[in-house]
Amino acid sequence: AQSVTQPDIHITVSEGASLELRCNYSYGATPYLFWYVQSPGQGLQLLLKYFSGDTLVQGIKGFEAEFKRSQSSFNLRKPSVHWSDAAEYFCAVGPLMDSSYKLIFGSGTRLLVRP
């Protein structure tokens, strides 16, 4: 069965420190992978996506993610966290048809930022 696992429910980092959020997936074919961020009372905003090609993907707000097929992982990283990055982060995987999106989401990781 297709699934996404985000093993960390909460992560706390100090402002200015580096960040890595983990994501592991189970999917039978070449996956399409996404990271979304959700601030309180807000919808989901796409940070970055991987379809094919270079396994290191750059996104908005200084985020990047690396696809590692051998580890079935797509971890999100940021070299220096800002207080405004505090939010919930979701990893998602397609079963992506050519025509449309249908995403499977992980349960999320809540990021807390210490001043």
Partner: protein
Amino acid sequence: DAGVTQSPTHLIKTRGQQVTLRCSPKSGHDTVSWYQQALGQGPQFIFQYYEEEERQRGNFPDRFSGHQFPNYSSELNVNALLLGDSALYLCASSLWGQTSLDTQYFGPGTRLTVL
């Protein structure tokens, strides 16, 4: 350029009642997907509409139904509400056939509380 809009923002219903949620897609988008996000969980795919037809469906009972109008807006209907239907309902829009080129945009959601 308006993004995805949803109404109402919040809704309180009692068990057994019926509810209708509304979504207007981002300008230029023709495909609408609905997701249910329970507290502390990631979003779960309910169904998707394109050309006024349901194209894909997740693992949700028939109590969940939808509709898409000629202007691409969409409604989600839930009958015989259960306590477990309490959740944030997210609408997402995209452009059919352009998944590798375009992005799926999410609305802010409707918070449904069933008492």
